[in-house]
Amino acid sequence: MVYTPIEKLAQATPQPMAQKVRGLSDRAIAWIFVAPSIFLLLAVNIFPLIWTIRLSFTNFKVNRANRDIEFIGLRNYERILTDSDIWMTMQATAHFLIWTIVLQVLIGFALAYLINMKFKGNDLWTTIIVLPMMLSPAVVGNFWTFLYQPQIGLFNYVVTFFTGGDPSSFSMIGDVHLAPWAIVIADTWMWTPFVMLICLAGLRSIPDSIYEAAECDRASKWRQFWTITVPMVLPFLMLAVLFRGIENFKMFDLVVQLTGGGPGNTTTLTSIDLKREAFEKWRTGYSSAYAVILFVTVFGLASIYVKALNKVKER
């Protein structure tokens, strides 16, 4: 008699265990399989979140763990939300967030639109464009630090080639007005390919028959673009904005490597500030409250965004 692998496995199960399993309902067996994942999720995600919320109401300092923990109510939140330095940090984050998303969406969509047109060397160009995304943010940070060097950096030479003047007359990462743009440019260079890939997936999912029908109705290319291409790629674009928005809200490594938050505090984003409070000043309770504020902001934004995304998909 020939047994299937499942039958062989069933026969190999020890008799006492087989009897126990036979007595369980399907629901119970399903729970047994799912339980380890749920336990892991609770241990890794939910427990630290609840612990952080608890710590945010205390004066706990992790470098003085033996000291009595005092419950101080909402004082940490009050301090954060009346601190003008944190307010400036929020503005720096907003500047970074808005401009990176705008530039990445515009350039990413334009590149995807061009790549989607079948031409010779199409695949090679896609590979070349996607390369920056594959690099480590620390490498990109270092790389752009050299590009922005006023004396030897290529960036200054390219800019002054078009505008005239001396290449060493300005410093992208040393000037308080230019440094916020320096991090925007580096992040845009690195992450535009990601937006491009998502847009490309959207463009390639549009059936040719829709364009053919529009051609039959004598719709112009411009009208086809606005009434077919844009609405059909919109859910993909919104997804890209969601991913980049959440990712850039907690941007850390690239900016630390590039400017270290300076000059002054002009490029100190919230995540950099949070890290300083938590692991340089060791104000654990205070930084927990800071983290909770950021979490609620991102969670709230993501909630309305996912709702909007579902509405667009339903259309």
């Binding site: 003008s84 929020m90 902001t297 709230g300």
Partner: protein, 62 residues
Amino acid sequence: MRQFFNGLIGLRRGAWEILASTMIAVGVVMLMQPFLLGLFTYSFIVTLSGTVMFIIVSHFPE
């Protein structure tokens, strides 16, 4: 507009979700605006209220 208020009174999901979303959006704008520190101070409570409201009203009937 009238439909929106009727939705609020009748505890309809759509109207309450619009209200919650608006509160979240206003809270985030208050958090990141460069004009008034006072708005920044009250931004968190507005965002938090909107987020909690959003979670609750998403269980309301359509």
